[in-house]
Structure formats: structure tokens, C-alpha cells
């Protein structure tokens, strides 16, 4: 999923301060929990409370889109709401506000979230881990399902650098050494021979800036 966090409320308040009539648009998509209707309504109430304290009155509308990165879904879902609003406050990842900006060119759009990475969610402790860089050339089949491009601090492709101690990275003692994890996993799978397959230099041009699926 895309991992996002809510921006500091002060920053959001500052961004929306020029406007009064604002549509808060949630997104039911990738994040967990989804930044959907509940998050949108909670944000509305928080901003109203903050506004009360500062003597500022807002007029919020609230809705949520199934996937804000989908231009068709977003356009049709937001159309009934945008008639008399001055700005859209988006709860989606970075793709959401950009979709809104593109299809409602006359409407200012403000992000309410900071987008961090494509991640794995450890729900129990609510800690998220970066797990995919979207490099465009996936090698997980060779690495036991653990991505060295993302999870090795140095992004090494062909085995550990030798700097790790006790399974932790030499650059960050809290971070697991991805290559040690890969080694253990391949050993468990009985596929240690894969680690000998030296990966050729990655073709980063494969990442691309546009693709046709």
C-alpha cells in the first residue's frame, strides 16, 4: 500500500486559511486504514475546532472517492461537490491531489497527507516499512521475496557489503541488513544457489516516467 501520514494540523490550517468553503475529499484506496469518510469527517471536526480557537470560520463539505488516483472515478465523484467550493483538501497520497488538479484546473487543491513510500504495514505497532521503490525491474524472484533495492541502505544487488553486525546495517543499527534476511530466507527455501546468480547492473531506465499497461 501507499503509506501516508497526516500533515501537522498547523500546516493544513495555514494552507487552507485563504479559503472558507472547502471540500475535504477522502480516498478509500491503498492506505490502511483508508483515509476515507471517517478520516475526512474527523479532520473536518478538528479543523473546525482549531478554527473556533482562532476565530476563523470554515464551511466544509465532506466526501470520499473510491480511488482518488483514478481520473474517471474522481471526476464523477467530486463533480456534485465542487460547484460552490473554493478549494479541495485531499486526504489521498500525492497522486490524488494531482488528479484533482488536472481535472479541476480552476480549483486550488491542498494535500492533507505526506506520502512516504510503498510499504508494509505492521498494524499491531502501527509501524510502516518501506518495501518497494517501484524500480520498474523487479528481482524479488531471485532474492527470496525481499527487496535489496529498497531495504538495503546501499541498494546493493549482489550480496551483503560485509559491514553488518548482528544482522543490523552499519549505517543504522535499528535497520535489518536486507542481505542477511535474503540469505536466511533462501537458505530456508533451499535455494541458496540463487544468491550466486550475480545480478547484472539494474536497468533504471525501465522505471520510466510513463508506461502503457
Amino acid at each position: 500500500m501507499i503509506v501516508t501520514t497526516l500533515k501537522p494540523l498547523d500546516e493544513i490550517l495555514e494552507s487552507i486559511s485563504p479559503y472558507r468553503k472547502i471540500l475535504i475529499a477522502g480516498c478509500d484506496g491503498c492506505t490502511q486504514p483508508p483515509r476515507g469518510l471517517r478520516e475526512a469527517k474527523t479532520l473536518k471536526q478538528l479543523l473546525e475546532l482549531a478554527g473556533q480557537l482562532k476565530g476563523k470560520k470554515f464551511d466544509f463539505k465532506v466526501t470520499s472517492v473510491v480511488k482518488q488516483c483514478d481520473s474517471v472515478l474522481t471526476t464523477s465523484a467530486l463533480k456534485p461537490y465542487v460547484e460552490d467550493v473554493e478549494a479541495v483538501l485531499s486526504l489521498a497520497c500525492g497522486a490524488g491531489p494531482q488528479t484533482v488538479a488536472e481535472f479541476f484546473p480552476d480549483l486550488p487543491v491542498i494535500p492533507a497527507q505526506n506520502s512516504h513510500f510503498i510499504g508494509i504495514d505492521d498494524r499491531e505497532g502501527s509501524i510502516m516499512y518501506d518495501s518497494c521503490t517501484a524500480c520498474g525491474d523487479c528481482i524479488l524472484a531471485l532474492t527470496g521475496g525481499i527487496c535489496p533495492v529498497t531495504r538495503c541502505s546501499k541498494g546493493l544487488l549482489s550480496g551483503a557489503c560485509g559491514g553488518a553486525s548482528n544482522g543490523k546495517c552499519e549505517l543504522d543499527s535499528e535497520r535489518d541488513c536486507a542481505w542477511e534476511l535474503i540469505y536466511e530466507r533462501l537458505k530456508r527455501l533451499g535455494k541458496l544457489d540463487l544468491i550466486r546468480e550475480l545480478a547484472p547492473p539494474k536497468d533504471y531506465s525501465a522505471k520510466g516516467w510513463r508506461v502503457t499497461p
Binding site: 478509500d28 483515509r35 476515507g36 469518510l37 471517517r38 474527523t42 478538528l46 475546532l49 480557537l53
Partner: protein, 390 residues
């Protein structure tokens, strides 16, 4: 420093002088809190294990057990006092766990007017109370218990079933007809609006009982036999697709402004787990405190906390059982997490000190009052500080 700190009064006590050592209490206690000391020929209550269900109190043949909540005499006295308010000879005794809404309960028994008596578990209501109210002129007793498998105290509902059958047999011989006491059972569960569900799986993760499953069709389905009505999934559903019978979101939202309008500042609205706090039968009298009872603190929604602040609450409290005392599967810990998360956000706009989470137990008298007092003090302290800053 000769001051002695007074021992807090415990909710349940075994009076050794009166005890006949029959050990019925120990065999009925759902929490193994009562044991027999064979060497010293004594029955011993471990108050730390006690969850204050009142089953031992209601079952003791020697009347050797005291309780500070809903004792026979206080219940009878209360009913005598309030009876003139009701134009009815029918008493409905209900467990709070299955009956937060009196009108729904009336419908269940097919009665419009009745004298309501709402207690945390009907298992604490003894034969003495039931016979006492009949002596006092009540013609019909209806009891609403939780479904046996859902009794928060495990044995309260089954015991009430046996008690009702036995009493009815006796009362029939006295000419009360076949069913002087009618027992019904009920459990309140989650409801799903499939049109609103976004199939995110949040409820699947949070439900402690594996009641919901995501179907391949992209919707949610609940095994209602597994649902124990804690309301956690309802409080966390990102799409408002879930609700809880009798503790609906809208019902709680409607209650908030009404309660706050009647309160005097400093207004403290308390969302309380009905198993953590046993309120007096005649209600909570402080004009500063408003209370909303919940089936479990897990039902608390951040939205309701914010609504309370928007409607003029000076402080909002969530009062829950401790994690170990939680009558659900450690749901109170989740509730604390919900409160912590919304407090973090309120901190950012300078309102963080106006929300409080407290874990209390009814096993010691006055715990909740003390928690409220401390919170009120901190609110007034913060208010005074702000006043001085101006």
C-alpha cells in the same frame, strides 16, 4: 506523620461471622476469586480477581456476603421510591449489556408502561428482590438477560434462568399463574450497510472474535454468532458501514448536545464502559458531569469525542476497564489507543489536555469519582494557567 491512609472500601465482602462455609459462592464465581481455606475453615475472597458480578451475593444462602452495589435492600428501597412515577404494575429488570434502550425492551415484552430497573448483569438480582417486589404489589416481573453464551459474567444469565424457573414453580402454587416472572434473552450485535462497505478489511483485523470475513465478491460478511457486540469495528470502520444495535452512531451523536446543554461548567462528558463503572440507581447527580454508557470502551469513536468538544464540553473522559479486567478480548487497550491517537491530534491545536483516558474498576469504591476529580482539577489548573497568561 501519623496519618493513616484509609484502605479503599472494597465492593464485595464475605462476613465471616455469618458464613456457613457451604462454598456455593466459590462454585458459582466465574473468576475463581472465592476459595475455601480448609485448614482454617474459612471462605476467602480475592478481591483482585473479583469482577463484581454480584452472583455470589445473590446466591449466598446465609446472606453472609455484602456488596456496595445494588444490594437487595437498596434495590427494594429504590423501587419503592420511584414506583409512583410509573403508571404500571409491571417491573422490567434488564441487564445493561443487552438493553440500553428502554423503549426497545418494552417492545420485546409487549409492554408500553413499565418500571425499569437496569443493572450490570441480572445475575446479581436475588430471589429476595424478586419476591420482595411482588410483596410490594408489583403484579408482573419481566427479566431481560443476555443470551447465555454472551453473558459478560458467564454465569449470570444461566443462573437467572434457573432462578426464574424455580421461583415460577413456587409462585404458581401461591396462585400467581404460570409465569409470574418472564425471562427473555437478547444480545446486541453489529449491523452492516453493505452499500457503504469499501472492503478495506479493517474490521477483520480488529475484531477479537473473528466475526467478519472479507468475501471474494469484495464485501464483508459477519458471523453474528461470533460477534460479541463490543463495538470496536464500528468505532474504527473508515466508511461508516458498520453500526451497533442500540448504540448506533447517530443515537450517541444526538445524546451529546442534549447532555451538554443541561450541564453546568466546567462540563465534563464521560464515555464510560458499563462494566467499569456501576452508577447509583438514582443516577449521577453532579451538574458538571454528563455520562454516556457504552457496551465497552471499544465503542468510543474519535468523532464523538470531537462532537462533545464542539458542543461545549470543557473536558471529555473515556473510562474503561483495565486491560486485564476487560470483559471483551482486551478491547479496552484498543480503546486507549483510539483516545491516544485523537489526543495527539488535539495536542496540535492546543486541546490535548481536554481529553482523558482512565482505567477503573468497580471493585474499589470511588475509583471513578477520583479519576473524574483529578481530571477536573487538571482542567481547572490548565484553565487558570491560560487565564493568568492573558
Amino acid at each position: 506523620m501519623n496519618q493513616k491512609v484509609a484502605e479503599p472500601k472494597v465492593a464485595v465482602n464475605i462476613n465471616d461471622d455469618q458464613c456457613s462455609r457451604c462454598s456455593i459462592c466459590g462454585s458459582l464465581c466465574p473468576y475463581d476469586a472465592i476459595t475455601t481455606d480448609h485448614e482454617n475453615k474459612k471462605i476467602i475472597l480475592d478481591i483482585e480477581k473479583c469482577q463484581v458480578c454480584g452472583i455470589c451475593y445473590s446466591a449466598c444462602p446465609a446472606k453472609a456476603i455484602d456488596t456496595i452495589y445494588y444490594s437487595c435492600s437498596s434495590v427494594l428501597k429504590y423501587l419503592e421510591k420511584v414506583r409512583p412515577q410509573y403508571k404500571s404494575d409491571t417491573l422490567v429488570i434488564m441487564c445493561k449489556g443487552s438493553a440500553p434502550d428502554f423503549s426497545e425492551v418494552g417492545r420485546l415484552f409487549g409492554v408500553k408502561d413499565f418500571i425499569p430497573l437496569s443493572v450490570p448483569c441480572v445475575g446479581r438480582i436475588s430471589e429476595e428482590v424478586l419476591l420482595g417486589v411482588l410483596v410490594a404489589g408489583v403484579k408482573k416481573i419481566n427479566i431481560l438477560a443476555c443470551d447465555e453464551d454472551y453473558c459478560r459474567f458467564h454465569r449470570g444469565s444461566p443462573l437467572t434462568g434457573r432462578r426464574t424457573i424455580a421461583l415460577n414453580r413456587m409462585l404458581e402454587q401461591l396462585g400467581y399463574g404460570e409465569e409470574a416472572i418472564t425471562l427473555k434473552r437478547n444480545s446486541l450485535k453489529v449491523t452492516v450497510d453493505k452499500d457503504l462497505c469499501i472492503a478495506c478489511g479493517n474490521c477483520v483485523y480488529y475484531c477479537p472474535y473473528d466475526a467478519p470475513t472479507l468475501t471474494s465478491a469484495g464485501g464483508i460478511s459477519f458471523d453474528l454468532d461470533a460477534c460479541r457486540g463490543c463495538g470496536l469495528c464500528v468505532a474504527l470502520c473508515p466508511a461508516f458501514a458498520l453500526d451497533l444495535e442500540n448504540w448506533e452512531r447517530a443515537r450517541i451523536s444526538d445524546l451529546i448536545p442534549h447532555l451538554l446543554a443541561e450541564m453546568k461548567p466546567p462540563k465534563i462528558l464521560v464515555f464510560r464502559c458499563q462494566w467499569a463503572v456501576y452508577p447509583p440507581l438514582n443516577g449521577d447527580m453532579s451538574p458538571n458531569i454528563g455520562t454516556i454508557d457504552l457496551p465497552c470502551a471499544g465503542r468510543v469513536e474519535a468523532l464523538h469525542v470531537l462532537e462533545a468538544l464542539q458542543n461545549g464540553a470543557d473536558g471529555v473522559m473515556v473510562v474503561a476497564c483495565s486491560e486485564d479486567d476487560c470483559k471483551q478480548e482486551k478491547v479496552s487497550a484498543r480503546a486507549e489507543h483510539v483516545v491516544t491517537r485523537i489526543k495527539e491530534k488535539l495536542d496540535q491545536i492546543g486541546l490535548g489536555e481536554r481529553i482523558n483516558f482512565s482505567a477503573v474498576s468497580p471493585r474499589y469504591q470511588g475509583q471513578v469519582e477520583e479519576a473524574v476529580r483529578q481530571f477536573r482539577q487538571s482542567l481547572e489548573g490548565a484553565g487558570a494557567e491560560k487565564g493568568a497568561a492573558k
